[in-house]
Symmetry: C2
Subunit: 325 residues, 2 copies
C-alpha cells in the first residue's frame, strides 16, 4: 500500500496528477492507501478515489507545517508548490520564503522525522535553473546559472535535495519541467503565455496575440507528459539514477512557425487567421534568454518520454479538454 502527499495539488499540473493517480489506482507496485492533497487554497476532493482522500489548505512553508504534513509518514511526496517566475521576481521575500524556505523546511522535516523515514520526494524543478548564453542543444552537464530569482530558488532546492539524498536522509528526485503547453483555461501574465495562447484561443474561436517572431524556438511538454514524468519519477529505481538526482526532462523543441503549422493541420486555415502578430520587444527579449533545446539524454535513458511532436501536444489538449475541431 502506498500513501501519497501532494503539495501544490490545486494547481493545473497538481490536479491532473491527482486524477491520473486515482485513475491508475496504484503507485510503485502497490495500491493507493491514502491521498493527502495540500495547497494554499483547499484542493477539490475527487469523488472517485480508491482510497481515503484528505484536502488541506495551508501555507506549507510556515514554521511547523511541514512536520504536520508528514506526520503520518507518506511513502511518496510530490512537491509541486511554488511561487511562479513572474511573482518571484516582483516579490523577492515571497519567492524566497515559499520556493527556498518552504522546500528546505519540508526536506528538514523529513530529515528529522526519525524512524529511518526516507520517502521518495519528487520535486518539480524548472528549465529556469539555466541561463543564457546557451549551447544548442543544452547538454545534461551544462552549468546552473539562473537569471531569475525563481530559477535560483529552484536550483537551490535541487542542491539541497541532492545532498540530503546522498546522505540517505531522503530519497529525492528533481525533474526540470519544460514549458507546459497547451495550458487549459485563460491566458495568464507569464511571458510564456502565448506559446499556449496561439493554439488555445484559435481552437476556441478567439483571437490570439503573437508577440514574438515566427522563428522563436522553445522547449515544451504537454500537461499529460508532465504528469507522466512525475509518476515515472516516483517509481524510478533510485540506484539507477546515481548521485545526480536532478534531471532535465525531455520535451519537444518547436518554433512558433511549427506551432502554427500544427494548428493549421488540425484546426484549419480559418483558425490560423485568428493569430494576430503584435511584436512586443520586452517579451521577445525575455524569451530570448530562455533555454530552447536540450539533449535530455540522461532522462531519456532512464525512461522519461517526451511528446512525439508538437502536433501530438495539440491533439492531447483537444482530447483532454474535449475541444471539437
Amino acid at each position: 500500500m502506498t500513501s501519497i502527499l501532494v503539495i501544490g495539488a490545486a494547481g493545473m499540473v497538481g490536479r491532473k496528477l491527482v486524477d491520473a493517480l486515482i485513475a491508475r489506482q496504484h503507485l510503485r507496485g502497490t495500491e493507493l492507501s491514502k491521498l493527502t492533497l495540500v495547497d494554499v487554497v483547499e484542493p477539490d476532493v475527487p469523488t472517485d478515489a480508491p482510497c481515503p482522500v484528505s484536502a488541506i489548505a495551508c501555507d506549507f512553508s510556515a514554521e511547523g507545517t511541514a512536520e504536520k504534513l508528514i506526520s503520518d509518514r507518506p511513502d511518496v511526496i510530490f512537491h509541486l508548490a511554488a511561487i511562479v517566475s513572474g511573482e518571484s521576481e516582483s516579490d523577492y521575500d515571497k519567492g524566497y520564503r515559499i520556493n527556498l524556505d518552504g522546500s528546505r523546511h519540508l526536506f528538514e522535516a523529513i530529515r528529522k522525522a526519525g524512524d529511518n523515514y526516507c520517502p521518495r520526494v519528487v520535486y518539480t524543478s524548472s528549465i529556469a535553473v539555466f541561463g543564457a548564453p546557451f549551447p544548442d542543444p543544452i547538454p545534461d552537464d551544462f552549468h546552473l546559472t539562473p537569471l531569475t530569482s525563481y530559477g535560483t530558488q529552484k536550483a537551490i532546492g535541487e542542491m539541497l535535495l541532492a545532498d540530503l539524498t546522498r546522505r540517505g536522509m531522503m530519497d529525492g528526485i528533481g525533474i526540470r519541467l519544460p514549458t507546459i503547453v497547451v495550458r487549459p483555461g485563460k491566458a495568464n501574465l507569464a511571458a510564456s503565455s502565448f506559446f499556449s495562447g496561439i493554439i488555445r484561443e484559435p481552437l476556441n474561436g478567439q483571437e490570439a496575440i503573437l508577440p514574438v517572431d515566427d522563428d522563436v524556438l522553445h522547449w515544451m511538454a504537454s500537461p499529460r507528459s508532465a504528469v507522466a514524468f512525475l509518476i515515472h519519477a516516483a517509481e524510478l529505481d533510485g540506484e539507477a539514477i546515481g548521485p545526480r538526482r536532478n534531471l532535465t526532462m525531455p520535451g519537444v523543441a518547436a518554433t512558433v512557425a511549427e506551432e502554427i503549422e500544427a494548428l493549421r493541420k488540425i484546426g484549419g486555415e480559418a483558425r490560423v487567421k485568428l493569430i494576430r502578430r503584435e511584436p512586443n520587444e520586452i517579451i521577445q527579449r525575455i524569451v530570448g534568454g530562455w533555454p530552447r533545446r536540450f539533449d535530455a539524454a540522461r532522462a531519456t535513458s532512464l525512461g522519461f518520454k517526451a511528446d512525439s511532436s508538437f502536433e501530438a501536444i495539440v491533439r492531447t489538449y483537444i482530447e483532454e479538454e474535449g475541444i471539437s475541431v
Copy 2:
C-alpha cells in the same frame, strides 16, 4: 578611502590577506580607511596598519550579527568564513548553519541595509562545487553537482550571491579556490593534507606520508595566489564580469610525481627520501572524486593569474616561510 571587512580573518588565507592589504595600503584605487577583522576566535591586530584596525570575535552566522558587522557600511567585504569540508560532512547542522545560513544572513543584511548600500562582496567558494565524473579539463560551464555537504553549501552561496547581484542588491563575486599548497604549519586531518605535507615536511627535515599513487593529478594554488585572487576580485570591474559572477580560479595541475620532482630540484635527493609511500585506499578513493584540471578561461581572461608552475609554488612557500634549503 576604502573601508574593509574581513570575515574569517584568523584563518591561514585570512591572515595573509590582511598582511597583503596592509602592505599595499590601498584597494580599489584609494587608501585604506578602516580594517575590521572578524573570526570565531579574535584575530591578531597587526601593528603596522596604515589605518585603524578592529578585531572582533563572534559567530558571524548568529541572528543579528551580520547587521552589526556591516553597520558602518564597509566598502569591501571579504567573506572567507567557513566550516571546512570534513567537518561539514561530519556535523550536518554546523555546516549548514555557518556555510549556508551564515552567508545568507550576511547577504540579507546587506540587502536590507538601505541607503543604496551595495558593497563589493568577495566570496570564497571552492572547486568542491563540482563532483565526479569529470571531463578533462573541466570547462567554465560544467554543471555544479557537489558530492559533499560543504560543496553544496558553497554552491548555494554562489547562487544567492549571483541573484542578489543581478538584482542590484549587492555587488558580489564568488571565486572558486583550488587546493591551497603549500600550507604552512602542521599536517591536518583533511584528505588533501598530503599535497602540502610531501613538500613541507621534507623541507623541514621530517618524514612525510604519501597515501596515493604518483600519477594522481590535482589542481593547486599557492597561498600568495589565493590572496592575489581575493584582491583582484575586490578590484575587478563588475561590468566586465557579466551575470555569471562565480569564477573558477586558475591553478597549477600537477601530479604527485611532478611535486616530488620539484622537491628534488629545490631540496635535493635526501629530502625526497623522506617521503614514505604508505598507500591508503580511503584517501585514494576520496581524491579520485575530486576535480583535477580546469580550463579556467573566464577567470584568466579577467586577469586572474595562476602560479607559473608547481616549482614556483614551492619557491613561494620557501620565501614566505623563511625556510633554508
